[in-house]
């Protein structure tokens, strides 16, 4: 029978030396106790991040003008969410690369019409108020062209928007019912009622915060807070934490791609980063099968440093 050639990267020679006992239970117990002590000690010394949740109520009280401007963009369909595309709507191009476009394949799974879901439905759920009811009726009975002219008039004057005495003021008389709608939505938001109206009830527990989070993401308030904490996508934010605590340093490679071209300028940046990381992950999994790469541990000889006493004795 022909003897198979020895391949140093994949073949393991049979161990012919003696064996020594090894207590894995003892080592595991020691590791568990050490880690538990370290965990408690570090928690006592440094505590942990516990940022208060940011809600629409927080936002509209801290920056009512930013909220009102965002609400208009939701009403006229010019916001980021309105133009996002799948899975929320058909408002924008899906991310993809060539024929690969998972967002298109999955389609609209969480249908969101920003005007209806973020503005009109919550206002309609308010207790009857004559002025608001009249404004909603006027909006509903107008053509889409008229609605656009109202929101355009409001948006073009919103640079001069002020907030005084619990009222949003915009110097325009051509915006139809929009000033009433936006003012009432702002008041609703400041009271906390809009948060409740946007949370989707999926049963006893209310855990679906998709709509309030999307609404928040369209404004500049949340992004401003995130940027102050270096949590922005272009600030390596994925590996950072609030405050001065260490973050997720192991995500360095994921967030690295978002800092360089073409990932940071492409509209399909997320998909390209995902694809790149999947290719690199496949390469990592396949290391034992890649000639050259699989030889790196054998060639750099760190194992000889770990088992130096064994090799010293063998050489003696």
């Amino acid at each position: 029978m022909r003897k198979k050639a020895y391949r140093p990267d994949v073949d393991v020679p049979e161990w012919k030396g003696r064996y020594v006992p090894y207590d894995i239970i003892k080592e595991g117990t020691i590791a568990l106790v050490v880690v538990a002590i370290l965990t408690v000690a570090l928690a006592v010394v440094f505590s942990s991040p516990d940022e208060k949740a940011i809600t629409i109520k927080t936002w509209s009280n801290a920056d009512p003008i930013d909220f009102a401007k965002t609400a208009v963009s939701e009403l006229d369909g010019t916001s980021g969410v309105a133009h996002y595309g799948a899975p929320y709507n058909h408002g924008g191009p899906a991310q993809g690369l060539g024929f690969l476009s998972p967002e298109k394949w999955v389609g609209v799974r969480i249908a969101i019409n920003t005007a209806t879901d973020f503005v009109l439905n919550p206002l309609e759920a308010q207790p009857t108020q004559p002025a608001l009811h009249a404004a909603l009726t006027q909006w509903a009975s107008a053509s889409s062209t008229t609605q656009s002219s109202w929101t355009s008039a409001y948006a073009s004057a919103d640079a001069k928007m002020t907030f005084t005495g619990d009222h949003v003021n915009v110097p325009t008389h051509a915006a139809g019912p929009v000033p009433v709608l936006i003012n009432d939505l702002t008041m609703m938001a400041r009271s906390g009622a809009l948060d409740q109206a946007l949370v989707t009830q999926n049963g006893f527990y209310t855990t679906n915060y998709t709509k309030p989070l999307l609404f928040l993401s369209d404004g500049t308030y949340l992004a401003g807070l995130a940027n102050k904490q270096h949590l922005g996508g272009d600030q390596w934010g994925m590996m950072n934490e609030t405050g001065s605590w260490p973050g997720q340093a192991w995500l360095w490679l994921y967030t690295f791609w978002y800092q360089v071209s073409p990932y940071n300028s492409s509209k399909s940046g997320d998909f390209m980063v995902f694809g790149t990381m999947m290719v690199l992950t496949a390469l990592l999994v396949a290391v034992p099968f890649i000639p050259g790469l699989r030889s790196v541990p054998r060639r750099i000889k760190i194992y000889r440093l770990i088992w130096r006493e064994h090799y010293r004795e063998s050489e003696d």
Partner: protein, 60 residues
């Protein structure tokens, strides 16, 4: 900051962090310290002798 049983952290980290920037690279000082500690632990694991090594004879 979490303050269970009315206790605060001995070292307050609840303030904006410090960041180091070099070209497109940016890292928080906290993350850098953790990475340095991890590398130091790795090097220590390589060069430190196995506990109890002197008391028994290893594989031959």
């Amino acid at each position: 900051m979490a303050q269970g049983w009315g206790l605060g952290a001995l070292i307050n980290l609840n303030h904006y962090g410090h960041y180091l920037q070099w070209h497109v690279f940016s890292i928080s000082v906290a993350n850098l310290l953790v990475i340095i500690v991890m590398i130091a632990t790795f090097v220590a694991a390589l060069v430190a002798p196995f506990p109890g090594r002197r008391n028994r004879k290893g594989p031959q």
